[in-house]
Symmetry: C2
Subunit: 604 residues, 2 copies
C-alpha cells in the first residue's frame, strides 16, 4: 500500500499515512485535536480544512497524494481550562458529608513489627502476617498474589520482620498488594475521577489525612471522535475505534495523574488506588467493553458493575500493583456517576424524602430515602451544557454565564472571565430565558414577540432571533431546545413523584449536582420551570457529586460498599413506558408550565 506525507502547515506537523486514510484520522494521529462532533460522519461540518485554497471536510477527504493541509482555528478543539475549575465546584457543599463514613481507604498501608518465628510459634510467613492484620479488618478473607510470595521469606528476615503491608479492599475480601521492608506508611496516595462525556475531573488525595492535594478538569479527549455518547458508540464499531476511544480517555486520566502528582512531587509508585465514577458508556469505552448494544433497543449494557482490578489492566499509570475501582451503576441510563452522587449527598441514608438532580449531558434523577429509591434519566439533551445551540458553548473563557435585560430590551451580558463574549453557556441561557420572559421578549410558549420594538430582535428564515451581544444570538430554535430540556427534567421529577404517590411538598431536600455547580441561579431556574417551585431553602448545590462520591469511596471502604447497596436498591423507571409521562412532558413545554398553579411564586 502506498504511503503519503501530510503536512499540517499551521501546526507544523508532518505524518506519513497509508493511501485511503481520511484527513481527520491523519490529524488525530499526528496529535491535532479537531472538532468532530458527529464522529467523522460528515454531518456536523465542523472539521473544515483548507487544501489549495479549497475548503473541504477533513473526515470526508481521502488521502491520494502528498498534501499540505491548513486547519483553520475554528476547526480546532479548544482546550481552554474550564472556568469552573475551582475548589468550590469540585469540593462543593459535599465536603459537609466527608465524615459520613468511617475513614478506611480502599488501599491502606499498615506497618507491622512481627515477632519472628520460634519452635512454639511456627506459623508460615504469610500466616504470621495474616494473624497480625486480620482482626483489624473484621476477619475478612485475606489473600495475596503469587508474585508477593516469591521473596516474602527473604523480605521478612532482611527487615527483621518489620514490614509495611499495603492492603487493597476488593469487594468483600482483602488483597495484600505489596510487602515492603521497614515503615513506608507515610506515603499512600489515591486519585478520584469523574469520567464525564464532556469533562474528566480528577483529584489527588493524601490517604493518610484525607487532604485534597489538587484538582484538575479536562475536556474528554474522546470528543475528537464524537461529541456525544451515540456518535462515540458508532465510532467504536470501526476497526480500532474502541481502542482509540479508550486510549483517548486514558490519556486524560494519566495526564491528570502525572500533572497533579508532579505538582506535589509525589512518585507514581506511591499511588496505589484510583476510584472512577462515570456513566455506563464511559465505563464501557474506558474498559474496552463493546458498547454496541447500549444504543440498540432495549439498550442493554454488558455489565453495570465492574470488578476492582489491577491498575495496569485498565491502563491507569500508578504503582503497577495498585488497584482501580469503579462505582457500580443501575442500568444504561443510571450509571456509576449517579450512584456516586447518591453516596455524596447522603440520600440513601436519610429518613427524609430527598431528590437528587444531576444535570449534565443528560439529566439523572433519583428520588427516595434510606428505605427505597427510584431513578430515571430525563432525555434532557446537552442544551444546558451549551451543546446543539446556535451560540452555545461550554462554560469556558468568553462564555456568557449571566445576563440582564432592561426595559428597553438592552442586554448586559456577563462572561465567565469578564472578557469579550464568544458564546453562551448553560447558566447564561437560563438567565437569558428568565429575563426575556420578564421583559416580554418571549411568551410562555417560548416564541419571540416580533411585534416588540427592539434592535435586538430580528426575523430570519427560520423564525426570530434575539441578539445578546455582538454576533451572539439566541434563536427560537434554541429556545425550543432549551424548553424541551427543562421540560424533560421537570416532567421526570413529577413522574417519579407520581410513581410513588408523593408530591413536591413531600420532598424535604433537593440536591443539584452537575456542571452548573454553584453558578445556577435557583430563582431563575424555578422561573423558567426547570426546577419545582418549592421552599428555596431545601435546595442544595453539591457540585460534581460524582467526583465527590468517588473520593468518599477512595477514603472509605464503607462508602464503596454502600454503593453496592445503593445500586441494587435503586429501581429504574423507564419514563417512556410510564403512561402519564408524555402528558406531563407536553404540559411542561411552556414557561414555566401549562399549569401555573404549580409555580405559585412565578409572576409573569
Amino acid at each position: 500500500m502506498k504511503e503519503f506525507t501530510i503536512n499540517f502547515t499551521a501546526q507544523n506537523k508532518k505524518i506519513k499515512v497509508s493511501q485511503g486514510t481520511d484527513l481527520l484520522t491523519a490529524a488525530i494521529k499526528s496529535g491535532i485535536m479537531m472538532h468532530a462532533a458527529c464522529g467523522g460522519e460528515g454531518l456536523c461540518g465542523k472539521c473544515k480544512v483548507v487544501i489549495d485554497k479549497k475548503e473541504v471536510l477533513a473526515c470526508q477527504t481521502i488521502v491520494e497524494s502528498d498534501l499540505n493541509v491548513n486547519i483553520p482555528k475554528e476547526s480546532l478543539e479548544i482546550h481552554t481550562k474550564l472556568a469552573h475549575e475551582s475548589e468550590e465546584f469540585t469540593k462543593g457543599v459535599v465536603l459537609k458529608r466527608e465524615d459520613a463514613f468511617k475513614f478506611s481507604p480502599l488501599v491502606r498501608k499498615i506497618y507491622l513489627e512481627l515477632s519472628g518465628p520460634a519452635q512454639d510459634d511456627n506459623l508460615s510467613d504469610l500466616d504470621r502476617i495474616y494473624r497480625e492484620i486480620s482482626h483489624k479488618f473484621d476477619n475478612l478473607r485475606i489473600s495475596t498474589s503469587l508474585s508477593n510470595l516469591k521473596h516474602l521469606s527473604e523480605i521478612l528476615r532482611d527487615s527483621d520482620f518489620k514490614v509495611t503491608v499495603t492492603i487493597a479492599c476488593k469487594d468483600d475480601a482483602l488483597d495484600i498488594i505489596t510487602v515492603e521492608p521497614g515503615d513506608t506508611t507515610k506515603t499512600n496516595y489515591g486519585f478520584a475521577f469523574d469520567i464525564g462525556t464532556t469533562t474528566i475531573a480528577g483529584q489527588l488525595i493524601d490517604l493518610n489525612n484525607k487532604n485534597i492535594l489538587g484538582t484538575r478538569i479536562a475536556f474528554n479527549k474522546q470528543a475528537l471522535y464524537g461529541s456525544d455518547v451515540i456518535t462515540r458508540i458508532i465510532y467504536a464499531s470501526n476497526p480500532g475505534g474502541l481502542a482509540g476511544l479508550s486510549e483517548a480517555v486514558l490519556d486524560n486520566i494519566n495526564e491528570i495523574i502525572l500533572d497533579l502528582s508532579g505538582a506535589q512531587n509525589i512518585a507514581l509508585s506511591d499511588v496505589y488506588s484510583v476510584v472512577l465514577a462515570g456513566n455506563m458508556t464511559m465505563m464501557h469505552l474506558l474498559l474496552k467493553i463493546d458498547p454496541a448494544n447500549i444504543r440498540k433497543a432495549p439498550y442493554i449494557p454488558t455489565t453495570t458493575v465492574f470488578e476492582t482490578i489491577h491498575a495496569p489492566e485498565v491502563g491507569v499509570e500508578i504503582n503497577p500493583k495498585g488497584i482501580a475501582a469503579f462505582l457500580p451503576g443501575v442500568t444504561t441510563y443510571i450509571g456509576g456517576d449517579t450512584v456516586s452522587g447518591v453516596i455524596a449527598c447522603g440520600l440513601a441514608e436519610s429518613d427524609e424524602l430527598s431528590l437528587l438532580i444531576d444535570i449534565g449531558t443528560n439529566g439523572e434523577i433519583v428520588l427516595g430515602n434510606r428505605e427505597w429509591m427510584i431513578g430515571a434519566a430525563a432525555s434532557a439533551g446537552p442544551a444546558f451544557e451549551g451543546s446543539g445551540l446556535e451560540c452555545g458553548m461550554k462554560a469556558v473563557k468568553g462564555a456568557i454565564q449571566g445576563a440582564e435585560i432592561d426595559g428597553d430590551i438592552n442586554v448586559k451580558a456577563v462572561t465567565v472571565d469578564g472578557g469579550k463574549p464568544k458564546g453562551i453557556c448553560g447558566s447564561g441561557y437560563i438567565d437569558l430565558l428568565c429575563q426575556m420572559l420578564k421583559r416580554g421578549v418571549i411568551g410562555k410558549n417560548g416564541k419571540i414577540d416580533g411585534t416588540l420594538k427592539s434592535k435586538n430582535i430580528r426575523k430570519t428564515g427560520s423564525g426570530y432571533e434575539f441578539t445578546v451581544a455582538e454576533d451572539i444570538v439566541i434563536t427560537e430554535d434554541d429556545i425550543e431546545n432549551l424548553k424541551r430540556s427543562k421540560g424533560a427534567i421537570y416532567s421526570a421529577i413529577i413522574s417519579l413523584l407520581n410513581k410513588v404517590e408523593k408530591s413536591i411538598a413531600d420532598i424535604k431536600k433537593i440536591y443539584i449536582a452537575g456542571g452548573f455547580g454553584n453558578y445556577l441561579n435557583i430563582e431563575n431556574a424555578v422561573f423558567i420551570g426547570l426546577l419545582p417551585d418549592t421552599d428555596r431553602s431545601i435546595y442544595e448545590f453539591i457540585g460534581n457529586s460524582s467526583l465527590a462520591g468517588a473520593r468518599m469511596s477512595l477514603l472509605s471502604r464503607d462508602a464503596f460498599m454502600k454503593a453496592n447497596d445503593i445500586y441494587k436498591n435503586i429501581t429504574y423507571v423507564d419514563l417512556s413506558s410510564e403512561p402519564k409521562y408524555m402528558d406531563e412532558y407536553v404540559a411542561s413545554l411552556f414557561f414555566p408550565h401549562t399549569d401555573l398553579g404549580r409555580f405559585p411564586s412565578v409572576r409573569l
Copy 2:
C-alpha cells in the same frame, strides 16, 4: 567470555558452554539426565564421567577447553517406567470413597438458553448470566475477568443467547472463566497430580462422568539437581537454581498432560482444571517461592496455603483460562499431600479413631477422627524407597521386591518384573529382614550372626554383609538404616497415641498410603516392628492417597473445601520436642521392639 564445545560422546550430544561452566551443568543443559544426588556438591560421587581415560566428577570439573566426555551408564539417571504404575496403585482402594462428596467439579460447564433482553427485562448481559446460574451455586459470589466482558454482548447475540459458561470455583467464590457460543458442555477435562519428591503421578479425568482416562507416573526431574528436598533447596539458592527446579517439575507435569490427553485425542483447550497435591518443598519449588527457610530452624515455609490461580501463572499448559488449585498443608512437615490423603481415606469424617500412615521419602502420620486430628512427620528417611542403601533401588525393573530364605540360608529373590535382579526395593528389604530374622541370619538387634555357616554371609571391613543374589547384598549398615526408619515410624505412631492418651487398641482403622501400595506385606511389616501388632483386618491399603485426594478435589468442590477444614484442624506435633519420643524411638531400635509384649503375635 570464551566458549567451548563439549561433546558427550556416548549420547552423541554437543553443546557450547561458557568457560567456567561445570560438566554436570553442561550435561543437564544438553538434556542428559545424570545422577546428582547431592545437588552438585561433590559429595555423593555419583556423577562420574571419563575424560581422556581419567575418571572425574562432572560437578567438580570446570570447562577450560573443548572436551570429549564419556558418561558411563552408572552415572545416568535411570528412567525406567515405574513398576507399580498400575490401576491398582493409582486408583487404590480409595475408589470406594469416590462418592463421599457431591459431584461438583472445581470447573464446571453450564449450557444456558437465556431469554433475550426486553424492555421489561433489561438486566445487563452479565447479570442475565448471573441470574441464571447463581441459584445453582448456593448464591455464591460470582465474578469474571474484564477480558471476558469485552465481547460478551456480541457473543450472546451472535449465539441467540445460547451459550456455555465455564465456571471455576475459587475459594468461596465463583469465577466465570469463559463464555462460549452454543453447547460445549460435552468437553470438560481435568488433571489430578501428586507432586512427590521422587515421583510425579498424574491422572486425566473426564469431568462429565468422573472417568479416569489415564494415569502416568514419572520420576521427578528435579532429581537431576539433588535426590532429596534438602539438596534441592540448597540448589535453589544458586542463581537460576529455583527457576531450574520449577522448570524441571513443570516439564514432568506438562509431559504427562500432553501424553495423556494426546492418547485420548483430547485438545488441551478442553482441559480447564488441574489440582495438585505435594509436600511443602515441592509446592514452593513448583511455584518458584524461595524455599530457603524451610531447611533453617525453626523450619518455616513462606505459606502452607496456595490460592487457586490461572494455569499460566504456574506454567501448566492447559486452556490458558483454566485454573490450577493446590491442596493446602499444615506445616513444613505436613504438606498438601498428607491433607489430600486425609480427604482420600475419610479419616476426618469418621467417628472412629483412625490412623493414616503415608510412607514415602518421609513418613507422615495423622491420627484422629471427625472431632480432632494430630499429625507428625517421622524422620524415617528414604530407606523404604531404596535410597541410601548399598543395593537399594526404586521399585523399577530388576528390583527385588520379595525374598524367601530356606533353612540352609539359601535365598530365593523375586524381582518386580521377574527378570535378573539389579537391586532391592523397599518391600524387598522388609521381606528380607523378616526372613533373616526368622532364619536367625540377624538377631533382634539387627546384627548378622557371623557364626552361622552360610556362603551368603561374609565379613567386610565394616561388619558383615548378606548376599541376596549375584552382586546384590544387604549390609549391617543397611539393616541399621532400615531399623532406624521403621523405628521412627513406629515410635511416631506411639508418641501420637500417648499425646492423646490413647492406645493401639483404640484405633479402629489404619490406612497405609504411599509408594508401597499393595506390595507391602502387612504380616512382615508387623514382624519387623514397622507397623503396630493389632487386628490385621483394620489395615487398609489406599495406594497413592495424595493423588486420590487431588482427584476427589477436582471432582468435588465440597472435597476441596473440606481440605480447608482439614488443614486447619490438624494439630502438628513436633516429635523432637515431645519429652518421651526419644525413649520410644530408642526402644523401637530392635526387631520388632525392645518390649516384646507390644508384639504378641511375633514369635521369633
